[in-house]
């Protein structure tokens, strides 16, 4: 993949193709967000965003041709992020399983809204 002496020079057309692909995907994600897919909206949006991010990472940031160590570093970052999210969500999403009272907040709204509700006549 990577010859030691001269650095890999990415051909110009790859940059242009990738850039236009990113533009197109941006338009798609905006369009899709207007259609109400219920729960899937988030997944679709994240899917498209991940494709765009990988395009930037592999071609603009040369991960495709560069040393594998950089890809390892990039994926470790993503791995730790997912660990953090998944294990924290194991707590925040399953609090009421054993004792239902332990889920959610007693007073849903912060106290500042009680004063705001009563005074808000204009909006």
């Amino acid at each position: 993949m990577n010859n030691t002496h001269t650095h890999h020079i990415t051909p110009l057309w790859i940059y242009l193709v990738v850039a236009s692909a990113l533009m197109v995907l941006t338009i798609i994600t905006v369009a899709v967000s207007n259609i109400d897919l219920g729960g899937f909206n988030v997944l679709v949006a994240l899917g498209i965003a991940s494709i765009k991010a990988l395009l930037v990472a592999f071609f603009f940031m040369q991960l495709w041709w560069d040393k594998k160590i950089y890809l390892v570093i990039f994926s470790t970052a993503m791995l730790f992020l997912t660990i953090f999210l998944v294990l924290t969500m194991f707590d925040t999403q399953t609090r009421g399983y054993i004792n239902p009272e332990m889920d959610g907040r007693i007073k849903p709204n912060a106290p500042m809204y009680d004063t705001m509700e009563s005074t808000s006549t204009t909006h």
Partner: protein
Amino acid sequence: MNTFPETHYLNAPEKGIKSWLTTLDHKRIGVMYLWAVIFFFLFGGALAMIMRSELFFPGADFMTANFYNKLFTLHGAVMVFLFIIPAIPAGLGNFFLPIMIGAKDVAFPRLNLASWYVYLAGALIAVLSILLGGFDTGWTFYTPYSTSTDSAVISVVLGAFIMGFSSILTGINFIVTIHKLRAPGIHWFSMPLFIWGLYATAIIQVAATPVLAITLVLLILERTLGIGIFDPAMGGDPVLYQHFFWFYSHPAVYVMILPGMGIISELITSFSRKKIFGYKAVAYSSLGIAFISFLVWGHHMYTSTQSVLASTIFSVLTFLVGIPSGIKIFNWLATLYKGSIRFTSPMLYAFSFLILFSIGGLTGIFLGSMGTDVHLHDTYFIVAHFHFTMMGGTVIAFLGGLHYWWPKMFGRMFNEKLAQILAVLIFIGFILTFVPQFINGLHGMPRRYFMYVEQYTFNNQLSTIGAFILGFSLFTAFANLFVAIWKGKPVGDNPWGVLGLEWKTTSPPDPHNFSVTPEITHGPYDYDKVLAKPTLDL
């Protein structure tokens, strides 16, 4: 008789404070880190002595509750952020990493100096909080107390945030140096194990500290703008703060212990003159600890209204992280088999590390299992557990490393007899200080208590006596080392007669580490093939 080398890094390229403060030499930066780190250790230790004397009697003796709360918080913050995290990596690591892999310097010398000044800036801002009236939230800054108290929380949080960058810069430096700057002939599995310890530590420093940075920024924003992420009064969730905090802080305790374990691998092999038992096992267990340490933070939160499902998952993962530490202890033990053991002062520290860290590790099993942790959480059992692992582990290993490398760093020998006596005294003082705390903790004495119920008095008094013995002998041990810089007799290249690459250069080392680049003919632990004559008869 050994002669003191004429030019070395201490007086070349030139003497004088200005050249030290603008140096790019990793050895000088390491020495500067050591002074700051030892100073903060003694400062934190003094705070602990005041607290222990207050706790001698159950009631309020010579201070108010508020003052005591500020004392234990400052003791925690100084010891964690200012001493134990930078101590071995930035102090001894900076000095010896390039030498032990045959490099001229770390990969980014300017970043290394920047990390020193960032550390100093963070330390000053954190210590400034004392002038602003101190802060009384505990070193964990749990919300909503930390967002509702009016003490100087923002100043110390800002200080810790800045020091986080110093830790990240050191981590980046070490990872790149170990990957790119190994001398030809030194491969991944012929590196000393101290380097493996530093490598695993650097991975954690680089991967965990950013989350601490964002957590502390969110805490400052919570206090100033009331953003409502962690503060329940603004609709936030304090348990989410604990998730964010411990996601950094549990890997951070492995940042503290892994370099210590690296030093112990060096000490055990050097002073039993024997090849390390299971090199790959010890190296891989360092990496294993580094990665598994990111999965286990929830065991700090079993009783914090965390869901039972999450506690169960964290509990089973916590038991996985205990296995590599066990493997290391048994590997060190097996290294002693058929060795030629010399009980020099570093070896005494290594032995007391093995005993104290084993106690620390085994008491961790009580805390990893959910059933027993409910009774023990936030009691003095926890205080004793983390002092056995952090102080019995990292501080004893740090002292062992200091005594082992002091002749190499400053070219002069300390009083070995006195050092051996002090090592034993420290061990005894340590046991007397913290074993009574285990008993109090089992009987339910909560931690961070200014006044306690009469039934805990006897153990507290024992612990205070032990604290004075420990404090005195620690202070004398450091004094013994410092005096040696001027009064000690020259030691020559290899005072202990051991095989590490750092013992092939002069002591103190040449400004560019090696006046003549050494060709690597044997591994760091080939005591079965190579004989090294000590240049100092001990």
